[in-house]
C-alpha cells in the first residue's frame, strides 16, 4: 500500500501556502521510495525515508526541477523481491517514473529485472531505477542495465579498500568472516577470501560463516564460535539488525576483536561498540561520515540532526543521488527518464567533502573517494558523536577515487 507520509503532506501544504497557492494543480515529480518499512530492517528503511524527504525539501526550496516540485511516495517491500516488484508496479501506476531502492541485493536484482522488462514493453513511458545502497557487484558488471544507476561503491570496491588497509596491520593473524546468506553476503565472502589471500598470504581465515538474512535475534551462538576460533579480526558485510545484534551479542560476551565492517554505523551499532569498549577497533568503509572535516559537511550534519531527533546523516550517497538527479533533470530540461538518463551518464559532481566524483558511463557506477573510519571517543576536531554515546567516527584512512577504479565487464545495451 502506498503510505503517503503525513510529513510529506504537511511539507507540501506548507510550501503551497508559502507560494500563496499560486499553482493549484501543479503536477508533481513523484519519487518512489521502496524499501523495508516493517520487520527487522524497518529502522534502516525509516531512516532512509528521512534522508530522501530532507533532500526533496531542499530541492523544492530551490524551485524544484523544471518548475515542478518533487514529491516522495513510500512503499514497504518487506525486504522481499516479490513485494518489490508489486510495489514498483504500484508506484508506476501512481505516476512515478523515478524509483529508488537501496536495501537488499535480492530486492534490487528483482527491481532491475522489472525495470528492464517494463521499459521494453512500454516505450515512451520509461522509468529509471536509482540505487543508493544495494552493492552486489553484478549490478554494474554482468547484470548491468542502462536504466540502473548506483551511487554506493559496490562490494568489491569496498573490500579492495578494506583489505588494502588491513595489509598495513601486521597484528592481524587470524580472520573470521561472517556474512548474510544471500547474494550480497556471498559477494562479500568471495571477495574477502580472494583479497585477503592475495594481499596477506600469511593471514589465516579461521571461519567463513553464512547466516540467514534478518532472521536471527540472538547471535550468542555465533559469537561463541568466533571466540572459540581464536580470531583476532572479523570481516562482515552485515547490515541493519544483523550487524547491531551481532555487535550486541559480542558486547554481552566481551569479545575483543577488531571488526572490519561495511555498516557498523547503522542503528544500534555504535551503542554496542561503546558497551564493549572497542575503542579504535571497529572500522567501517563508507563514502563519508559526520566528522569529515569540511565546514559544509558540518553545517549539513548539524541541520539534519536537528530535524531527525539527533540521528546522523548515514547516507552521503542519498545527497549525491538526489542532487545529481535534480541537476540532470534541469540540464536536460526534461523530467522524462529517457532524456535525463543521458545527462547522468558520465556526470561529474563535486562532493560536499571538496573533491570531485563521477558516474562512470560504461556501467553506471559512481566513483568517489572512500573513507575508512573507526569509532572513538570525541577528541580534537571531531564534532559529532553517534547515538549519544560520546563516541564518533574518525577517518583512519582515505582512499582516493583513483585507487577505487575497478574495471567492469559490463556491456551496456543502449536503448534505441
Amino acid at each position: 500500500m502506498p503510505t503517503r507520509r503525513y510529513g510529506t503532506g504537511l511539507a507540501v501544504a506548507a510550501l503551497a501556502a508559502g507560494l500563496g497557492l499560486a499553482a493549484p494543480a501543479m503536477a508533481q515529480v513523484k519519487i518512489a521510495f521502496i524499501d523495508p518499512l516493517s520487520g527487522a530492517m524497518a529502522p534502516i528503511g525509516e531512516h532512509g525515508v528521512k534522508h530522501f524527504q530532507y533532500m526533496i525539501d531542499k530541492i523544492n526550496a530551490k524551485g524544484g526541477v523544471n518548475g515542478q516540485k518533487m514529491e516522495l511516495i513510500t512503499f514497504d517491500n518487506k525486504l522481499s523481491p516479490q513485494e518489490t516488484v508489486i510495489a514498483a508496479q504500484k508506484a508506476i501506476d501512481a505516476g512515478a517514473r523515478i524509483l529508488t531502492l537501496g536495501n537488499g541485493s535480492g530486492a534490487a536484482a528483482a527491481m532491475i529485472d522489472f525495470v528492464n522488462k517494463h521499459n521494453d514493453r512500454n516505450p515512451g513511458k520509461e522509468v529509471v531505477y536509482l540505487n543508493y545502497a544495494a552493492v552486489d557487484p553484478a549490478f554494474t558488471n554482468d547484470k548491468c542495465s542502462y536504466w540502473h544507476f548506483r551511487w554506493d561503491a559496490h562490494s568489491d570496491i569496498k573490500m579492495q579498500a578494506l583489505t588494502s588497509y588491513m595489509k598495513g596491520k601486521p597484528g592481524i593473524k587470524k580472520v573470521y568472516l561472517i556474512n548474510q546468506d544471500y547474494s550480497f553476503g556471498h559477494a562479500v565472502r568471495k571477495a574477502a577470501n580472494e583479497m585477503v589471500k592475495a594481499k596477506r598470504p600469511d593471514v589465516q581465515i579461521v571461519g567463513d560463516e553464512l547466516h540467514p538474512l534478518a532472521k536471527i535475534t540472538d547471535f550468542a551462538p555465533y559469537v561463541a564460535k568466533i571466540k572459540a576460533s581464536g580470531a583476532d579480526s572479523v570481516i562482515t558485510g552485515n547490515w541493519g539488525s544483523d550487524i547491531a545484534l551481532l555487535l550486541k551479542a559480542a558486547a554481552d560476551a566481551n569479545l575483543q576483536v577488531d571488526w572490519y565492517t561495511y555498516y557498523a554505523g547503522g542503528a544500534g551499532g555504535p551503542t554496542a561498540i561503546k558497551q564493549t569498549g572497542l575503542k579504535d577497533r571497529v572500522f567501517q568503509i563508507t563514502e563519508g561520515h559526520a566528522n569529515v572535516n569540511t565546514p559544509e559537511n558540518h553545517a549539513w550534519e548539524q541541520d539534519f540532526r536537528k530535524k531527525s531527533a539527533g540521528q546522523g546523516w548515514w547516507y552521503p550517497r542519498v545527497r549525491n543521488e538526489m542532487e545529481m538527479l535534480a541537476k540532470a533533470m534541469n540540464e536536460a530540461k526534461s523530467n522524462n527518464p529517457k532524456v535525463f538518463a543521458e545527462k547522468l551518464r558520465g556526470m561529474k559532481y563535486k562532493l560536499i567533502y571538496g573533491t570531485e566524483a563521477y558516474m562512470r558511463a560504461e556501467d553506471h557506477q559512481f566513483f568517489q573517494d572512500m573513507y575508512i573510519s573507526n569509532l572513538t571517543p570525541l577528541a580534537g576536531d571531531m564534532k559529532f558523536d553517534e547515538e549519544n554515546t560520546g563516541w564518533g567516527w574518525r577517518t583512519a584512512a582515505k582512499i582516493p577515487m583513483g585507487n577505487t577504479d575497478v574495471p567492469t565487464t559490463c556491456k551496456m545495451a543502449k536503448p534505441s
Binding site: S38, G39, A40, D181, K215, T217, D218, A224, D252, A253
Partner: protein, 316 residues
C-alpha cells in the same frame, strides 16, 4: 573447543527452556481440547509487549508479575467467550478460530506499538556480566532467564503431579466426561488451563523480550517451532515437551557451531569433492546452514516412526 561446548550448552539450554515455557501450556491445551492453538505464540508476543509497556510506565519487576496475569486473563476470556462458543462447530472451526486470532493479535500489536522493534531494555539491576570463563562473559540477564524458567518448570511439575487441581487436570486430559460426572466443572478447568497456558507464554515473552528482539514478527518466528516441540514430545506430556524443548534448543545451537558439510564427509571417505554440476552447491552446505531445518526434519521423522511422539500415549 571446551569453551564452545560450554557456551553452546548454556545458550542451547536457555533457548530450550524458553521453548518449554511456551510449549508446556500449548501441549496441555492441545491434548485437552484436541486443537492446536495457532495463537499461542501470539500470547507470547503480547507478553513481551505488555512487559515492555509496563516497564516503561512502572518497572521491569512489576511487569514480570502483572503482564502474565493480564495476558492470562485475556487468554481465559478468549476461551470463555470465543473457543467455547466455536467448539460447538467442531475442531476445524476451532482451528480456524485460533488461526484468525493469531493474525488479529499481530495486527493489533502493529496498530498499537507500530511495525518497528521497540526499545525493550534489560533492567539495569541485571545489566552486568554474571561470570567470566575463558575470557568470555555471560550476561546476568540470561542467567536470570534460565533460573526463572527452571523455577517455573519445577512449580508446574509439582502442581500437576502433587496437587488436587493437578490431578483433576490430568484426569480431564484423557477422560473429560468421567471427570464431569464426578461433579467437577470441566469447562472451568479448560478455561483455567487455557488462561494459565497463555500466562506462561507471557512470562516467556516478558523475559525474552529484552534479550531477543520485541517486534511484531516474533510470534511468527517462534510459532512453527512450538508445534514441533509439542508433536515431538508427545501430546499432553509435560516431560515429553521438556525433553523435546531442550533437545531442539541444543540441536539448533550446536548446529551453528558445526562446519561439517557433505563434501567434507566425502573427503574424509577419500572421495573427491564434486565441485562442478548443478548440485555442486549442495555438497558445500554446512550443518550450520541447515541448522534451522533440523527440527522440522525431526517432526517428519517422528511422525513416520513414532506417531505418538516421544512420551505421548495417544495419536490425537
Amino acid at each position: 573447543m571446551l569453551e564452545l561446548v560450554i557456551f553452546s550448552t548454556l545458550n542451547g539450554v536457555l533457548y530450550g527452556m524458553l521453548l518449554f515455557l511456551l510449549a508446556s501450556g500449548l501441549t496441555l491445551i492441545f491434548s485437552m481440547m484436541g486443537v492446536l492453538n495457532f495463537a499461542h505464540a501470539s500470547f507470547y508476543m503480547l507478553g513481551a509487549y505488555f512487559g515492555f509497556q509496563l516497564s516503561q510506565w512502572l518497572n521491569f519487576w512489576t511487569a514480570l508479575i502483572v503482564a502474565p496475569v493480564l495476558v492470562g486473563l485475556i487468554g481465559a476470556g478468549v476461551e470463555r467467550w470465543g473457543l467455547r462458543t466455536v467448539h460447538k462447530w467442531g475442531h476445524v472451526a476451532e482451528l480456524l478460530f485460533t488461526f484468525g486470532l493469531a493474525f488479529v493479535i499481530e495486527e493489533l500489536v502493529q496498530m498499537v506499538w507500530g511495525k518497528l522493534p521497540v526499545d525493550y531494555r534489560v533492567p539495569p539491576l541485571l545489566d552486568f556480566p554474571a561470570f567470566e570463563l575463558f575470557g568470555t562473559t555471560y550476561p546476568a540477564f540470561r542467567m536470570f532467564m534460565l533460573l526463572i524458567s527452571v523455577a517455573i518448570f519445577l512449580v508446574l511439575l509439582m502442581v500437576l503431579t502433587r496437587s488436587r487441581i493437578g490431578l483433576i487436570i490430568q484426569a480431564a486430559l484423557s477422560h473429560p466426561n468421567m471427570v464431569a460426572m464426578l461433579g467437577h466443572n470441566v469447562p472451568k478447568v479448560f478455561m483455567l488451563v487455557f488462561g494459565c497456558g497463555c500466562g506462561l507464554a507471557a512470562i516467556a515473552g516478558v523475559i525474552a523480550g529484552p534479550a531477543l528482539v520485541t517486534q511484531p514478527s516474533m510470534a511468527h518466528v517462534l510459532g512453527p517451532i512450538l508445534f514441533v516441540v509439542v508433536v515431538f514430545g508427545g501430546l499432553g506430556s509435560l516431560p515429553g515437551a521438556f525433553i523435546a524443548s531442550l533437545l531442539i534448543g541444543l540441536i539448533q545451537t550446536f548446529a551453528i557451531a558445526i562446519n561439517y558439510s557433505l563434501g567434507d564427509a566425502l573427503a574424509s571417505l577419500g572421495m573427491a569433492r564434486p565441485l562442478q554440476g548443478v548440485l555442486s552447491d549442495l555438497w558445500q552446505v554446512t550443518v550450520a546452514q541447515i541448522g534451522p531445518v533440523v527440527p522440522y526434519l525431526m517432526l517428519v521423522l517422528i511422525l513416520v516412526f513414532r506417531p505418538t511422539g516421544l512420551m505421548g500415549t495417544r495419536e490425537s
